[in-house]
Symmetry: C2
Subunit: 225 residues, 2 copies
Amino acid sequence: MTTYYKEFQKVLLSVDCIIFGFDNNKLKILIGRRQLDPGRGEWSLYGGFVRSDESLDEAANRTLFELTGLKKVYMRQVGAFGSVDRDPGERVVSVAYYALINVDDYADKQRLEHGVEWVEVDKIPTMYSDHNEMVNRALKLMREKIKTRPISFQLLPPLFTLTQLQHLYEAVIGEEVDKRNFRKRIKEMDYIEKTELIDKTHSKRGAALYRFNKKIFDEDPNFKL
Amino acid sequence: MTTYYKEFQKVLLSVDCIIFGFDNNKLKILIGRRQLDPGRGEWSLYGGFVRSDESLDEAANRTLFELTGLKKVYMRQVGAFGSVDRDPGERVVSVAYYALINVDDYADKQRLEHGVEWVEVDKIPTMYSDHNEMVNRALKLMREKIKTRPISFQLLPPLFTLTQLQHLYEAVIGEEVDKRNFRKRIKEMDYIEKTELIDKTHSKRGAALYRFNKKIFDEDPNFKL
DNA sequence: CCAAAAGTGTTCCGTCTACACCCATGG
DNA sequence: CCATGGGTGTAGACGGAACACTTTTGG
């Protein structure tokens, strides 16, 4: 290998994942107890080191896959965190990513094997190093994004009711919204398709199930909640 | 030094600066010809390596200072760029930052010594590696931010006319706006203070000079253009 | 005296918000 | 039969967009 820059010092690079899920009408993230020193036992995001043969995005996707077994998940970079002393061991710069998953896709069995838990975003404990800051930044970005991009659907099953969608939206932005106004806006988005199917698990009357039609969305990608 | 993570490979870390300026009613950035291999001679952002004793933010500020001699400049992280092959030499991950400076603060003499030029954002040539992508991301972030945060003033002299402010805003968002509507909105922001001073350099009649009063803004930080 | 930029209000229209009642069904 | 969640429309308020003329003065 050519070494043009040999006089400069290298650093360890890691990725940390803020994995969002929507469960029980609450927005939650996956956190666990850190398994290695330094900081063993502290609450922590799930992360890993970047390998020399993968990009940052690939490292984040691989890390998420190792934890959840899921691929092709919606992930976005939050940013790089690089205080000199952010890791008590040695210099480690970390790039945070947030991911949106449907909690149904992540079996409890596998979750428990990795010792991670779903925790409501407004009940997050103090975590290792700068992980709380990472979560705050991720939340801020995601809350912005959900208003103008159709990412809600990443947190829901393929078929969902409008009530579910509304509760999700309320959980993310942290305030209640008017049901009629909400549904009026949904009705204008042709890519949120009503199906013939009825969900009867949450009410006696039953609620229509909807799906997000990406093809229709891509023809005219406008979204505004 | 303790070495908890010794089995993992380290990478070189750099920062690259997208330095915005407002000149001649155009939004521009500072770019130059890359001075070292690989890629010597290609158009490039100004950057540098992160030292072991400084955070990413510090590295970005130092890099900007080396180029411009300016401190306490408004800078924000754009994100980390880490394709495996983004640098043809060896693995280098770079964190991009954008900065907003007042072009008057950067003497042409110093600029020429560093061999960098102001180039309009819609006339940017193909640059080294992923630098065009960095600029695009920075532009997108900055265009969003300028609508809701009082950052325009970072690109202007301490005293400015409303016409200047409007032209700046138009240059950033890339479209013209109505003068009366614009000034109506400005009038509602008490922290954009009219001074007694008159600028006569751009018109015979003369235009009132305004200043941004940060103290007043901080009391009620609301901004909307 | 005129060219060139500064400065100033009103009307209209579309969008957002507030708000209350009937429906279907399982238990 | 009633409790529970699903589903629907309208009116009024508000904010954003369109729009044209007068003022000042250096050259």
